[in-house]
Amino acid sequence: MEDYFRFTQTLFDPSRAKDKPEPLKGIRVLDFTHFIYGPTCTGILARYGADVIKIEEPGSGDMLRLGAWWGKYWKHTNPLSHSLHHNKYFVTINLKKPEGKELVYKLAEKADVAVENLAAGTAEAWGVGYTQLREVRPDIIYLSCSTYGQYGPLRFFPGWDLLAQAAAGTITITGYPGTDKYYKLPDYLGDFYPGTLGALVVLFALYYRKKTGKGQYIDLAQVETLTRLLPHFTYFSITGQDWERTGNVDPSMAPAFIHKTRDSKFVAIAAGTDEQFKALCTAMGQNNLATKYPTELERLKPENAQELNRIAQEWVSQKDAAEIVNLAKQHGFPAAEVVDDYQITHEEWRQERASVETFYDEMYHEFILPGPQAILSKSPSKVKWLCRPVGYHNRYILKGWLGLSDEELQELEKKKVIGYWDDRPGAKPPIYYDIDTDPLFNYRGNGGGTA
């Protein structure tokens, strides 16, 4: 039989991914989201082939466009907007105008999914909530993302990533015991993770709709998705005590920690099973430990775990990182060097695997994007275009999907129902780009788009 890795190489070959079909082909999503939480959800749907129409306010667009961290814009954009918003259609609609609402209802007739992450009840008050959109599209799946959910005493409480983390208890679990050193989950993970779970729930709802033809309303609360990550509640209910922080040590395996090596790098090692522990003992040249602590539960007793971690930490500090990883590979226990942003982006194997994707875009040229959340052999994800300026797809969608004429568009522009970018970084096209010759922005077709 063919060698396994040759077989999988052909099966998953990233260079062939662009010719494969998309799992969400034909699914249409109305996207009323902003910042990170909601856009993460619609971004995943877009990456796997759904047509996502991102509805923004004319002018500035999504606030995330405008704030690049430390003021570091990339080609007049917030670089994060490319990983959040690739493959989306950018349409501006002023929801405060009655004509704007009309446009949304017309789009909703053709939509399968709608997603919003405004404060609880706001979408409803603006006339684009579930109860309103289901009038025009009864089988729509409508996801409302909020911090505390749509009902309950705290529903109007403001919040985002950090506040949700504070309310869910994820801030107090990371850090060092007996100190004031608490660390939040980094990088707005309190937005990214709930957004990802939101996408998962929408996929389940789409599956149910395929089977039964029924749409539904989904109320996703950021805090609840974060509490789903914590066995700490169960731990507390059983032991009556809060699970104390353990710094760099994983208290559920012994040994398991991150430690500094001889060459001043950092390595994580773990021994989660008896075999892994034996392998580690052999690598350390301490086979006596394997006989002394034969079972996992014996090793996890706090005094034993402390001792084992101490021994293994000492061993790690006397070896180079590469040496430890090699020994782990050879003997069969988990070990990995701590890698930083730069290494992740540039490690050859990630590029090869397409865990990190280099994409060439018509407007922004070469850009390196994080890979997809899951790699599928027959219907993989695809990057088709990066983020676009505010209102870039107005003509394409409104003419192509809704069949509006040029005169009607001009009328809407004049009434400020639709509009284009303000002259500010994040919203406008890059300075070198000739937008007047762009065929999509100046879409000339009429009624013949993807509709």
Binding site: M1, Y4, F5, Q9, F12, P23, L24, I44, W69, L80, S83, G121, Y130, G149, Y151, G152, R155, F157, G159, A166, G169, I173, K181, Y183, L185, P186, L200, V201, F204, L206, Y207, T212, K214, Q216, I218, L220, T227, L229, L230, F233, P251, S252, A270, E296, K301, K329, P334, A336, E337, V339, D340, D341, Y342, Q343, I344, T345, E352, R353, K378, S379
Partner: protein, 448 residues
């Protein structure tokens, strides 16, 4: 097993009503309060969880189980070693806390894949299954004759999810095929640990890369595996074909949180660790109070000014010094330390609850006023898991379920993380005994 007493629908209507919303919306929300008796999204989907010593697989299986799939946990007679991975060695009836937490709506079937008979039974099960999850070394199942290559011949509709540290294809996957997976190594290898911890200038070991206090890498990989499965289910509806899904835990954080690659690409260097601070916004972090900590997010200039007013710090020297976003960039840590010190000099005079109330009252005034500049700083009390679950809000939303098991006693699970009007997820039962459903499974799937 009994669940907690249900709050009355009246309570919900009181807490769900929105001034601008119609009664229709209130009715909708009231109808969503109770998941019982409603259909399930994944009814009829059969999932085999053959994961071994790996919680990413167990967690993925949990997501399918919560949404109504029949999930069969396959493990050798001595049990999955994951049963014993538990903080400080705490077990109940021999089972660890994390395993108990994920033991929702599952069936337990004993099958030793090291033996020929075990593999034969697995083939029989796989013919009737929709999804299989496995976490063995890449190529291991294949060498046993029960990998994707073989099973997809027998059941072309099968969705095969494989979870490993470095994936199923490419040089790295092959080189590291025999290396087992763990959460802490995946946190290290996916870029998470590198940005948690104190800045370089702090003391050892606080300035080292730090692990997060829950199995973040395993939870993210599990979620991604379930996502792959859900996408493949939808694709199967279009094409009639199953497929293979490759999840590498070393991808988990970088691909979910996006920042590592974006920063590594556009900065061409790694970001430093910033301790309690944030990259993009300041103030955005936790601050000491009289009785604990609050989280404060007031990144925009008007939010920041409003925060100063609330804290009674609106003085010329503070306001001028830190006026705009570019005065509060976290690349100059001594400056930010100085700002934090000023803010904490005020926050420590109040209790956390006082600060939250003050901010809310201020914000309510601002949103109604055209004159105050619209600043809305966000302040929230930092809760530990034990205090977080006590809030009435979670009781109304039934976010925690109390389980009363004859053998295990009473314990609490975080449940129902999404509220759905048609097919809400739910925890129907919690069970954990090895081989508990052997007869049921044999009869239902292996009797011919």
């Amino acid at each position: 097993m009994t669940t907690t007493q249900q709050p009355k629908e009246q309570v919900l209507i009181r807490y769900g009503g929105v001034a601008a919303a119609k009664r229709e919306r209130e009715q909708l929300l009231a109808s969503m309060m109770n998941p019982e008796g409603k259909p399930e999204a994944l009814e009829g989907v059969v999932v085999l969880d053959a994961s071994y010593a790996n919680f990413a697989g167990i967690i993925a299986a949990s997501f399918f189980a919560e949404f109504g799939a029949e999930v069969i946990k396959i493990e050798p007679p001595e049990g999955d070693p994951a049963r014993k991975m538990t903080p400080f060695g705490v077990t109940v009836d021999g089972v660890g806390i994390p395993f108990l937490m994920e033991a929702r709506n599952k069936r337990y079937f004993t099958l030793d894949l090291r033996t020929q008979e075990g593999r034969k039974d697995l083939v029989k099960l796989a013919k009737k299954a929709d999804i299989i999850i496995e976490t063995f070394p890449a190529g291991q199942m294949d060498s046993w004759g029960i990998g994707y290559r073989q099973l997809s011949q027998l059941n072309p509709r099968l969705i095969y999810i494989a979870i490993t540290p470095y994936g199923q294809y490419g040089k790295r996957a092959e080189e590291f095929a025999r290396m087992p997976d763990s959460d802490i190594t995946a946190q290290a290898a996916s870029g998470l640990a590198a940005i948690v911890g104190d800045p370089e200038s702090s003391t050892e070991p606080y300035n080292w890369p730090t692990r997060t206090g829950t199995w973040m890498a395993w939870y993210m990989s599990g979620t991604q595996a379930a996502m792959g499965g859900a996408l493949a289910l939808l694709f199967r509806e279009l094409s009639g074909e199953g497929q293979m899904i490759d999840i590498a835990t070393a991808d988990s954080y970088a691909n979910l949180a996006q920042y590592p690659v974006i920063a590594g690409n556009t900065w061409r260097k790694a970001r430093p660790r910033l301790g309690r601070y944030d990259f993009s916004m300041c103030p955005y972090g936790i601050f000491k109070t009289k009785d604990g900590f609050v989280a404060i997010a007031a990144g925009r200039d008007n939010d920041f000014r409003a925060l100063l007013k609330i804290l009674n710090l609106f003085k010329r020297e503070v306001e001028e010094e830190f006026k705009t976003i570019s005065d509060r960039i976290t690349d100059n840590l001594p400056r930010i330390d100085q700002l934090t010190e000023i803010l904490e000099s005020a926050t420590t005079k109040h209790t956390s609850d006082e600060l939250v109330t003050k901010t809310i009252n201020y914000s309510l005034k601002t949103v109604r006023s055209k004159l105050s500049g619209g600043g809305i700083p966000f302040v929230m009390k930092v809760e530990s898991p034990s205090t977080a679950m006590k809030n009435l809000h979670w009781y109304v939303r039934k976010s925690f379920q109390q389980v009363d098991d004859p053998k295990l006693g009473k314990f609490v699970l975080p449940v129902n993380f999404a509220k759905m009007s048609e097919t809400p997820p739910r925890v129907k039962w919690v069970s954990y005994e090895i081989g508990k459903d052997n007869d049921y499974i044999r009869q239902k799937y292996l009797s011919e």
